[in-house]
């Protein structure tokens, strides 16, 4: 059974679909990385920034806003956002847990890792916990096969996993969240 959760339940403040002045300035700089008439090239970097800064997923409003910034048609943004697996088109939890399930991870036990996560979180892969804290997904190769099995939590890698390690990692995240410490995550906007 899949659980449908409405966006309101995520306990996340409704964000205005608009970047801050600082971010807008950075985006102007990013556009300059490409030739004059090629501002569309900045689409992938800007979508990464938008997803992180404007609510964790790309709503139609966010995509339309990005289109207006880059002076392209909204459809040009939709077709790209739906192509690349890193972009979420629906609300997701605060922590997105993505477990690699491809060959090398699979023969090193990634299926046991998914089982363990499903047990601990009480959801199936593809679902979000009711408190909006965790989304569990299975993904294809994360390029870390030497330290299989591997997962990433909001693009932070966790490697050489065992079912016991999973308990530790989830407990840490839960207590971190209770103590109101925001996760130390690199901002996409600082990476270009």
């Amino acid at each position: 059974m899949s659980i449908t959760v409405e966006h309101k339940m995520y306990n996340r403040e409704e964000k205005q679909v608009k970047f801050s002045e600082n971010i807008l300035k950075r985006i102007e700089e990013i556009i300059l990385h490409y030739p004059k008439d090629q501002s569309k090239s900045a689409l992938l970097p800007v979508l990464h920034i938008a997803q992180q800064e404007l609510g964790g997923y790309l709503s139609v409003d966010v995509m339309d806003y990005v289109a207006s910034l880059l002076e392209i048609q909204p459809i040009e943004v939709y077709e790209v956002a739906t192509f690349y697996p890193m972009f979420h088109l629906e609300p997701v939890g605060k922590y997105i847990i993505e477990v690699c399930q491809t060959g090398p991870c699979a023969i090193c036990g990634s299926e046991r890792i998914v089982d363990q996560l499903e047990n601990i979180l009480g959801i199936k892969a593809g679902e979000t916990t009711l408190d909006g804290l965790f989304t569990l997904r299975t993904v294809e190769c994360l390029g870390s096969c030497g330290t299989a099995p591997v997962m990433q939590i909001n693009t932070e890698f966790h490697e050489s996993l065992t079912p016991d390690k999973i308990i530790q990692i989830i407990n840490d995240l839960r207590s971190k969240d209770r103590s109101n410490n925001q996760p130390l995550e690199t901002k996409w906007v600082n990476l270009f």
Partner: protein, 451 residues
Amino acid sequence: MGKLVLTDKINIPGIRGIDVYQAHGGYVNLLKVIKDMTPADVGHEVTKSGLRGRGGAGFPTGLKWSFLDRKTDKPRYLVCNADESEPGTFKDRYLMEHLPHLLIEGLIISSYALGVKTCYIYIRGEFKYIIGILKKAVQEAYQHNLLGENILGSGFSLDIYLHPGGGAYICGEETAMLESLEGKRGNPRIKPPFPAYKGLFDSPTVVNNVETLAAVVPIIGMGGESYAEIGIGKSTGTKLISACGNVKKPGVYEIELGLPIEDFIFSEEYCGGIKDGKRLKAVVPGGSSVPVLPFELVLRTLKGQQRLMTYESLAEGGFDSGTMLGSGGFIVYDEDACMVRNTWNFTRFYRHESCGQCSPCREGTAWMEPILKRVEYGAGKLSDIDLLVSIAGKIEGNTICPFGDAAAWPVSSAIRHFRHEFEFHIEHPEIVKNINHGSLVNYPASSIQYR
């Protein structure tokens, strides 16, 4: 110990920073290039070195560079392919994580040789922390006037920009990468025109893998001829091999091309043998796309010669009894690995990653995956095996880009060499249905031999 030319300094503490890198001979080769060499000289050294593309196809780099259209007035571009996503491959990540300045030095030298003023590093989005490492290294290089206007007073200018992918495997194909860089879906382009004439923004473009561009630095340092002395025949130099799967010591190893595969798997210097005292069953030597080989064919060719880590030796015997060096993603399977489940797993990957542009690939992968799934779970029919071979054969060679071949080969090779396992799944549904998560299927012991 084989000769190390790329990773010889990787264990020096702080080598990720520009000061330590420079203190250990970093950017000396760049100085040599801009002081004493013309762009054509650099190209000649690379051609003489015999360097072949390290991303998987093994195309000679000097030849690729020579195709670049130098007559047009349009700007030329160099794109560094850092979209490493081939299952089993994690060598570029290792190189960028530990030696970011080696890549940047290689990019500057290559750009100089190609007359390029703008260079993009297309890096897979999941490697966010590596983007951070590269970003810092690029900034350091700008601060030291190794990038930007008039580099070290030479009159040569270069900008390097980082561009993140969105998690699509297909963007590692060079024309899909160019589409993606232009802000589009990663659908590969029909060739010709080749990127050397019409690439990024319709301009002449060279796309090279991270390891290829990094290798340009030692080639300049030791000279193309000396580099060509490493290795065997047309497989010159060293190659990073990322070993994973059921080996004792998975990781990235720099090897001299020509190393016997048996040594690579079993010697303590490299993989250290199979984990948990088990036996070797099969190897996929070049990332998930290349054909899988059973242990006896991976260690020796059909003619009984020792199989070596070279482009030629691995391909010996064609696809009947050989495979490819590919990207160097070396996946080792022990006796417990189920080849049916593994093939299903890979096909699920290709079904997920197909861009959907060509019907044979889009539809073919979407048929092979559920058929393999039902075989794996004991619901298959004997005719399914030939059906799979037939579908794979109809994808292969009938698509715009090599992705179709890459999706077909794992299936056709697994059936070629491990047909008995597929038959076992179909003939013993009561056994395979009760298997938990693809652990060992109890094949009749007499039907399989192990090393």
